[in-house]
Symmetry: C2
Subunit: 344 residues, 2 copies
Amino acid sequence: MTDRLARSARQQRARLRDVAEAAGTSTKTASRVINGDDRVAAETRARVEQAVLDLGYRPDPLARSLRRGLDETIGVVVDEVGDPFFASVIGEIERMAIDRDVSVIIASTRRREERERIVLDGLYQRRVAGLIIASISDNHAYLRHSSCPLVFIDRAAEDLAADAVVVDDRGGARMAVEHLLRHGHRRIAYIGDRLSTATARHRLLGYRDALDGAGIAADDALVAEVEPADGDAGVAAEELLRLPAPPTAIFSANTRCSLGTLPTLHRLRRTDLGFVSFGDFAMADTLTPAITIVDHSPEAIGRLAAERLFSRLAGDEPPVETIFAPLRIVARGSGELAPDRPRP
Amino acid sequence: MTDRLARSARQQRARLRDVAEAAGTSTKTASRVINGDDRVAAETRARVEQAVLDLGYRPDPLARSLRRGLDETIGVVVDEVGDPFFASVIGEIERMAIDRDVSVIIASTRRREERERIVLDGLYQRRVAGLIIASISDNHAYLRHSSCPLVFIDRAAEDLAADAVVVDDRGGARMAVEHLLRHGHRRIAYIGDRLSTATARHRLLGYRDALDGAGIAADDALVAEVEPADGDAGVAAEELLRLPAPPTAIFSANTRCSLGTLPTLHRLRRTDLGFVSFGDFAMADTLTPAITIVDHSPEAIGRLAAERLFSRLAGDEPPVETIFAPLRIVARGSGELAPDRPRP
DNA sequence: GCAGACGAGGTAATCGATGTCACAGCGGTG
DNA sequence: CACCGCTGTGACATCGATTACCTCGTCTGC
């Protein structure tokens, strides 16, 4: 009674101690019941459970994490939360986390290595149970002794044995460019992310693979490396079209580049160009012409990564693996335009 | 020395105790230095600061939160992380949080009231310092005694005196519909979110205001209330067009409805319809015709909400206020089509 | 009949930091 | 000279839960 008053005076939740007192046991026994330890007499267990219900007790996650050294939280580190690709990935991860009563802390690197360190450090300090990381760094030495499972997404860590969920960047890029080649294009430009990220490098290799396969000499003037966050992709497209021997088709190596390039092409009325985008985006199938894509479903990546992480958190120890998310080409129009098509 | 070995054997970070020992003081004094308490002799302070640097000490956020009853974390609750509107809002909030060394926990309600309770409860248990909420519930009684500052976004809490950053839903909708009226449309359809959310109700009111102002009788057959997460918006559009007296223009009351409706209109080759979207989206200006919008910049909302929250966290106590994010119409083509335009 | 296993439960230390309170020294004051 | 108040400091309790270790019966096997 007094106790209940004390609680209400404090305006606070019930603590384990309150439960124990209400059930007439020690906190240890109450803790056993709550954590499903079976060395508790059925009758005692029942009393504790009743007290939990009566008091609406729920363990304090902070105190629990402090003691256990582990939090019921996973961290997700991406380039930028607002990026549609990552927004979808995160959405899917969160969906899976919800089912497991795990919270998700999001942090973005803004594509800067030093920030990557900082945010990871912060997440470790919070004792996250696991991490899903789209790393932009090439050096993961500082993660080697990670105290929690890691799953890399979008880009595998080449210097670290850790799970990763990626797409076959090289193969996908090759697929995209071969598609354009099949439709008769011979001068195909590449617009992609800075080559400081491994993803970009692989996609550029795939682009070259395809050209090699068709016996076409690579022309560096057709390769544009841009910062996709800015409006650079559109500018790059404009420059490509001003070349003495301009391309008849463009392969855009990621979604943000596509979002940057297409408004420019439309403004210049150059929708006669062949175009394939690595990565889908809203309205891609509603533009005129609709945009042919190589699709690496962000939801699938999020799901696979989360599944892997939760499986490790549950104690499974499958061998470290790089999982390739399925990849396919979706022909919608822009990739099937012949090179000699008249300009609109 | 022994201590340093012990630390490295533990493979762990330095604790306050390690700092205190290294500086030859008590933990309390070390704590004083770290928290900027000025009742410490300059020389002692210097020793502690040196120890902090030597050991690379950083306080454990968990332990600190437990003791202080307050975490350096803010919670953000939205419908759905993957929603482009909220993704941008979150991106902006996070950007501001970074500057203040505050972490952000994201939770989504999936538009279900019971989940809203659950996630908020979870965030409170984590002792978040503040909350930014896009609430879907109409009943906020359980938030009345919130232990931390709240800022509502997108939808104000009508039953609670709390800060909110919203757009003038009614005025914006009216603006959009008046735009279509000015271009000669008389039968204008409304496609919007379920009326269970206040936002949707206000936008529908604005739509009616505009029609009233033009002396046009409202026709309920032209009003479609859909679940924007599904493909319902497209279906609704199709049904509207099959009416005996179909609309010549559509006002889409939110981004997701636009993303659902437009592919359908394009598929049906009904791009002759007038169209205004409440909310911008990628490629809106690249479609043919480009989409006229009423823009409620998600970044602005995120920034204003975060500014407000951080100002309260810093101890400011401005009067509770509902802030209206700026709203403007961006004419791009689809809203300026005359009703008698031939179909493509 | 007794050693040891086992079941049920409790006590106290611990996680890492901070709040409370007491205390030693010192200069000033009546 | 005794007392006051201030400064700088530390011992110890505390936040809420978990873990290491111990106790006390009772049951089993020899």
